[in-house]
Amino acid sequence: MKKAFHFLPVILFLIFLPDWLFAQEKTITGKVTDANMAPLTGVTISINKSNKGTITDADGKFTLTLPATAKLTVSASGFKTKIITADAAQNDIQVKMEEDFAKLDEVVVTGLATNVKRRNLANAVATISSKQLNGVAPAQTFDAALNGKISGAYINSNTGAPGGGISVKLRGVTSIYGNTQPLYVVDGVFIDNTATSGGLNAVTNAASGGSPTSNQDNASSRIADIRAEDIDNIEILKGASAAAIYGSKASAGVIVITTKRGKQGKTNISISQDLGQVSARKLLGVREFTAEKAASLSRDPSAGAALAAQFTAAKTAGQIYDYEKEVYGNKGFARNTVLSVSGGGEKTNFFFSAAQKDEDGIVKNTGYRNSSLRLNVDHRITDNIKIGISTNYINSSADRGLSGNDNTGTSIGIALSSTPSFAQLHADQFGNYPANPFGASNPLQTIALMTNNESVNRFITGLNLDAILQKNNNSITRFVARGGFDFYNLETNALFPSALQFQAVNKGTSIQGATKNLSTNYIASLVNSFTPSDKLSFTTSAGITRESGDYYNLLNVATQVISGQSNVDQAGALTATQFRAKYQNDGVFVQEEAVINNGITLTGGVRFDRSSNNGDVKKYYAYPKAGVSLNLTSLGLIQKGLFDDIKLRAAYGQATNVPAYGSKFTSLVVSNIAGNPGSLVNIQRGDASIKPEKQTELEAGIDFSLLNGKLAFEFTYYNKKIYDFLMLAGLPASSGFSTKWVNAGDLRNRGVELGVKAKPVASKNLTWNTSVNFWLNKSLVTKYTITPVPQGSFGYVLGSFQVEQGKSATQIVGLNGAGVGVLGDAEPKFQMNTYNEITFHNKLSLRFLMHWKKGGDNVNLTYLQNDFGQTSPDFDAMTLKAGMPNGIYRISQVGSSAKVFVEDASYLRLREIGLYYSFNKLPPALFIKNIRVGASLNNYLTITKYKSYDPEVSNFGTGFSSGVDVDPYPASKRASLHLAIDF
């Protein structure tokens, strides 16, 4: 099948476009104001059943050419939508808009090509506005900016290393070893979010077995490339009931991102500059040594005496150092510049942005840089055909350091853990670092000489075509096609020169990775809106979809590298690995939505999907969905009074997660010896009959608003069942295989989400918008067909995950002193957040976001690591057991109980707070419309009892087993100053 055929339907429809009848046209003018008669800028006025429209200018005025009589829809964000009839006789139309406190008229995407107003929505769809995402205290990367903002999500930052790495789980874990991360869709383009390892395992050997890569290599997620500043709005479809129409990629939910677009009117130019400082959120502290304590590091009396002498000498010379502070205590400088230009005429609108940020990390020689260009253009070819193009080029570069678990003593945290304060690690006057006598590496040397860089060049292009094929008084049919591609080139460069202490054997290691990935997707659909009467309307859509991916990774590990060189050919030994993955999913869908009496909304749809990753590539899997919402006030069942709006809703849907590429094959990997090429059976057994995991979700809720929408409540209950969840099951190793992909069982997530939005104060001089959300999720493994084994951590001795029937999917088990028992659960008991915006005189604005995660345990091994190195700050305190130093006590627990390592990771965090002032009444001669200055703090205040660097951590990256803490790159906090000028 040639690529050109993808566009066949588009071409077909363009050829067969019906003839258009053009009525007599007339030009009208009008003005839009708010309730206080103040003019409103940027209000969209569109002619119903056409692709034509305009927006109001700075004085709230608009001009529009329209057929003799037409219905106009007047809409603006934050206001209730109005539909007015404009006839030729009228000339000056006055429209007065009412504020939409409860956001009932917000339009929410419900299909691949259709949307519905929140008033009629059958699902709880969370939205994040541009201001909430990026307007309080901007985070380093887009994924980090989501944290704490999505009701129903468990978002966890894997690491503090620059460049991101965030796990997002919507409504509980939806898979154990399959994909747990939501699908990101930006302007209709499915975004690849693969985390590609840079091959650090070749040096750290964190996962033994000789593979150069592992899930402990601390790779960033590729979604981090996206620029938060470009985003206009995010909608989160949390489960199958909302996301079924996305089919086989939607089982972990879908995050639908819409970027900013140009509007008709005067060209807006905006420049913003942020300057900030990044610093460690918390340092653990170090053990204070004395001569006796130094001597106690060795059991050998003469070695102990030498250590004591070494300590005394260091003390006399004033050479006692706090290495933790020296390594993690740096302040990083951060800057971010964004230029955006937007505007448009009657036919063409555009939005352009150019942005660059550059940030240092808290560890020297680490940092993040991201440069981005975006051009979004919308053009109306005729009154009936419009196209939109979104293009984005991104160049990002992250220097991530070396952190987390290892088995070679090379990672910075592991090296620090065994280095006491009297060790002498600093370089001499020639820049040569001494070997660390207390560890396998000198962390100061490692930081100074090593490189671990990921750099990305990425193009994302989306196309959107909307053509009206047919229209009459009560029916309109559109052809909607949407698609695009996401292509990136990722280079990973990990360089460990031969001068490094731990390169004694390999004499210099250079690990060079090159990855390219092309993802494409499109949908082509027909959408018919049929309105037989005012009280009845139908929207029918049907179409085809395709998604494909082509991933290519080449990783070269060179050792015995010639001094000062990084090219892999400049080396004495070279091991190459190559990995490719390809998939294609095809789908067909139909969906029907009916609105009856403006109050009853019925939705039904089904999508059929097949995937080249399934065991049976020919088989189509069906994903039905259905939803109903009853708006009791719109129906008149309850009179408007105390209640402004009451809606009951329920929705059901199915989605799946396709198996990972290659899970159906039992392959033989290369294993050479003395130049003889060898084939050795892979430890992973394939399953030729592998099926996708299936999810069904039933969600029901009630939404109501009081006091003219100033107080709105949303309550949702969901029951999400996952059947045949994919599991990399442990096999009896005597079979020759260690793991196998299986459809291992069923699990269930049940939860509630409560949201309150209010505008307690709305006077002319002071407004206060607030929202409070509460959510919790409980998971239960309802069926499990294989033997439960510890997984996703380091076994029972240190605390491990273990999937077991009748238990929470994320339970943590381990030795409890009397055998193996449940020690905790990674799932939070509940979470809450509150977002507030207080505005004085429309000029000074204070915004903040608080996030409370209650419960949820981590496996904290950072402390244990420091205990083993006898450097933990409370090593000598005796708070855990009378008469026994804490450090000794914790070590004594290894092998008998893991209780002390499984730790509550609750926190209350002031994630973001920002104060902004706008100068918006400037003299016209300045050509400046608005100047905004602000200051913000991100991650500054955290209340937690958790003892390691940060309760948010994941040694194993973005998967099922988050919360394992092994000497991570410490989390950071940031303080920034902001200046923005609009012309």
């Binding site: 050998d300 054997v505 050795l680």
Partner: protein
């Protein structure tokens, strides 16, 4: 107007069906699949399986040697990043050996992975119509020999807990057999390989089998391993028979034999037992008793190297690095002449042929700069002498713990910290239960 709606819907569905015609199945883009080998394998494919088998034998071999070496108090593996070497393996405080930890799960799985590869090789060679029947016997004999050796290493770890012998069908694994039955089964696999080699033609490349890489040589290797198994089974006459058919030779180099070899080529491995001298953080050091117990003048003291600073961890310390594997490409013995000489001595002692035993022991003694044996000529005294020689001759080659267990002498091992234990066996990996 409804009509047009249906027309367009029909077009969409028709297009969809059109697309359905081109379903995609990409196959495995990265590596060959098992089915490819089992179909009708060519000689080069079978050779790839042979090399994969030989290469795979090296996987996780360091864990095996550290398990046996640490519990047998030959030395310690100090690791800043892996405490369990000095807690679990030595039984620190209340620690016990866990069935889910790397020290048993990793070496166990690596050995059975090679067993699987051997089984694939046997099946692939059987199914192949592109090789002669003598070539077939060569591949099968090699596969059976290696399989038996791999099973033996796992049985050494789990001892009375046993091993599975029949693991051809992953969905129907054979039952566990106990230690004695395990050894019997291993011996019988070796014997059937012996039969294979009788009619075999070997033309496949081997890396660590210098001088023993043809059918006759492989038979000698097979018999050397059979001699070790017979000794474990206390079948002393069988030990002597097997030695006679092996490369056993008191006049030859102690290091004659077969090895795991290492290299820096692509996809190859470095010797994981090599750690440069005087490292800190990640070290392998000799137990203090190694230098304390060695006889004056014994040149095997050079299997350790005095450190320029004492290494300590967790209440343990040592001032000697293990210096058996002296470079990252140094070979690691599978079985060698020195062990065969000692097996000969052991069989002779146990059959009361003391003069022959002393002759063999003196070959070892003289080879290591010691005077001829002058001790008592009794079974107990000679066994003590034998165990001394095995301890120093086969230092860090994976023997002492097993030898002391065979002679019920684990209680003689030194305890370094109060509460430490000497384990007799590893638990079966959790995945097997």
């Amino acid at each position: 107007m409804k009509h047009s709606k249906y027309i367009y819907t029909a077009i969409v569905i028709a297009t969809a069906i059109f697309f359905s015609a081109c379903k995609k199945d990409y196959g495995n883009l990265n590596s060959p699949t098992i089915e490819q080998f089992l179909g009708n394998a060519s000689k080069s494919e079978l050779n790839n399986l042979v090399s994969g088998t030989e290469s795979g034998m090296r996987n996780n071999i360091a864990f095996y040697l550290d398990d046996v070496g640490t519990i047998g108090r030959e030395g310690y593996r100090f690791s800043g990043s892996e405490p369990r070497y000095v807690t679990d393996l030595l039984g620190a405080n209340d620690a016990t050996l866990s069935n889910s930890n790397f020290y048993i799960t990793n070496p166990w799985a690596a050995r059975y992975r090679v067993v699987k590869n051997c089984n694939i090789l046997i099946l692939a060679a059987t199914n192949s119509s592109l090789i002669s029947s003598s070539e077939k016997s060569g591949y099968i004999g090699f596969a059976r020999t290696i399989k038996a050796y791999q099973l033996l290493l796992n049985l050494n770890l789990t001892y009375t807990k046993g091993i599975r012998i029949n693991v051809t069908d992953p969905d129907n694994l054979g039952a566990f057999v106990n230690y004695d039955d395990g050894l019997t089964a291993i011996a019988s696999i070796l014997d059937s390989a012996k039969t294979d080699f009788a009619t075999a033609a070997v033309a496949f490349p081997l890396a660590g089998f210098d001088g023993l890489n043809d059918a006759a040589g492989l038979l000698k290797v097979n018999r050397a391993i059979a001699a070790r198994v017979a000794a474990y089974r206390k079948k002393w006459p069988e030990v002597l028979t097997a030695l006679n058919e092996s490369f056993f030779d008191v006049t030859k180099d102690f290091y004659l034999g077969v090895n795991h070899v290492f290299g820096t080529g692509s996809g190859d491995q470095l010797n994981p037992m090599f750690i440069p001298k005087n490292q800190s953080g990640e070290v392998r050091v000799a137990h203090a008793s190694f230098a304390a117990d060695i006889k004056n003048g014994d040149d095997r003291i050079n299997k350790t190297s005095v450190r320029n600073s004492t290494a300590s961890l967790n209440g343990l310390s040592s001032d000697r690095d293990v210096w058996v594997y002296t470079s990252s490409t140094a070979p690691l013995p599978i079985i060698r002449n020195e062990e065969l000489i000692l097996l000969y001595a052991e069989a002779k002692i146990n059959t009361n042929a003391f003069p022959d035993a002393v002759t063999a022991l003196n070959v070892i003694r003289l080879g290591h700069n010691l005077a001829p044996y002058a001790g008592a000529i009794t079974t107990d005294a000679l066994i003590a002498e034998l165990l001394y020689q095995r301890r120093y001759s086969l230092f860090y080659e994976g023997h002492r713990w097993i030898d002391l267990r065979r002679y019920n002498k684990l209680a003689n091992l030194p305890i370094d910290r109060t509460g430490d234990d000497v384990w007799t066996e590893f638990p079966l990996p959790v995945t097997e239960q």
